[in-house]
Amino acid sequence: MTKPTRSLNAATSIRSVMVWDIGIRLFHWSLVLAVLVAVLTGFFGSPGTTSLHLFAGTSIAVLLLFRIIWGLVGSTYARFRNFLFRPSQIIARFRELKAGQHNRYLGHNPLGAAMVIALLLVLLIIVSTGVVVLGGTLKQGPLAFMTPYAVGSIVKEVHQIFAFGLIGMIGLHLAGVIYETLIGREKLIHAMISGKKIEEPHIDHPTTVRTHVVIGLTSFIAISAFGFGLVTTLSAKPGLGVPLTALDSTYEKECGACHYAYHPSMGTVALWTGILEGLPNHFGEDATLPDATKTQILHYLLDNSAEHWDTRISKVLAKPNPDDPLRFTATRFWTRMHSDLPEALFKMKPIGFKGNCAACHQDAKRGLFAPQSIDIPQGDKL
């Protein structure tokens, strides 16, 4: 009995082997950070965190690219072919766990491997749908030139469903790690930091393959550079259904004399007709215009009304509040989007009243209303 004990303690029998190479470990913890930022800004974010969400999403895309390349040319345990188990093996692992048996694996166990593949696929779906949402609803990014608002809006639901799914999967992934650490006594977290696992003679391990560092990194850099160029070029194209021309000078002069000259894309034909016909009592004030000027402005507004564009603002303001159908700030969308802002803020000097969109939306004059263009002034109270 003494002999085996001694041999177990001997340096030749128990030794650490490198399982997770430096690339895998950096990938894993960078991904943890990027996903954490993306999830937090996605679920609890405000317009101010949009840029951070997009940055996190872009980082995830780059990390996934690296992981895919490394899964093809990286070190032994990084290769996909060494953790693509058959369904029967995954079921067998389930049975093992139920029976309380515990076979060790140096790389991923079949169940953990299935989760890793699923996580990578779901992240790919979330990143891709995110690009469609960005293009369709905000008319930003590489797909803005071709994605209709309606498509972006539906895909947003898909993006959100998969994001909820991702959170569930992260929960299971963590549960698996905790189970393996406490019950299976496999120091998984430690292994993902040091890269090393304890090797035992009876554990099968895959045939060691050569790591193609140069091929891997070269293709990662080349594809990243190509992707960056493609995204930059496509993002520079004008967005589908986004107004580009400047405001009509007569409209801007006459209507802009008293208030922010609302972009024509914000109002429907019905709204603009109602506004222009009601000028003698324009929200409690007489704003009468000479007939010729009125006709000219009406034509301009109708030619550029919400029906002509595909921007978010042209869609969301198109549903009027029946009690106050001509007021943008009475719509449900406006109320919902500004619900977190104190009533007193709108009375402060540079803003003055709720309909002064351009006081905070720096791109309101162009009818864009990007979340990244919001800058709430720190005014003095009236």
Partner: protein, 137 residues
């Protein structure tokens, strides 16, 4: 001798510049004066004092805009603000020299704002007094 000529010329130039500056509102005021004469028999010229009283008076046609001063503030040398948050440059001619020089613009705003604040059109005398007051400060 040269100095005296130079001074005379300088004074003449300055004097005519001042006269032009003060008189830029004259054509519009003349127009309102002849209208006022037609509207009322005892018209005897405009008064800055009456204009000031009119500008500050509270009317009851509108709860939102009871007075000219609601938007223009009680001090016409200061900038005002429309109910919709847009800045209005000062009404005082000393601060905004091109005030009351474009008769179309003047009529457009008297028509709108008299209707909003007073609930009626203003008389030629009210308009003339208003401009005279704004030109005096």
């Amino acid at each position: 001798m040269i100095q005296r000529i130079f001074l005379t010329v300088l004074l003449a130039v300055l004097g005519s510049a001042l006269a032009i500056a003060a008189g830029a509102q004259k054509p519009i005021l003349d127009g309102y004066a002849s209208q006022a004469k037609a509207e009322m028999s005892g018209f005897s010229g405009f008064s800055a004092e009456r204009g000031k009283v009119f500008f500050l008076a509270k009317h009851d046609a509108s709860a939102e805009t009871p007075s000219c001063a609601t938007c223009h503030t009680a001090d016409p040398t200061k900038s005002g603000q429309t109910r919709a948050g847009k800045e209005i440059s000062p009404m005082a001619v000393s601060k905004t020299p091109d005030r009351f020089t474009d008769s179309e613009k003047v009529e457009k705003w008297f028509q709108r704002n008299c209707q909003s604040v007073l609930g009626r059109a203003c008389t030629a005398q009210e308009k003339g007094d208003f401009i005279t007051f704004m030109a005096s400060i």
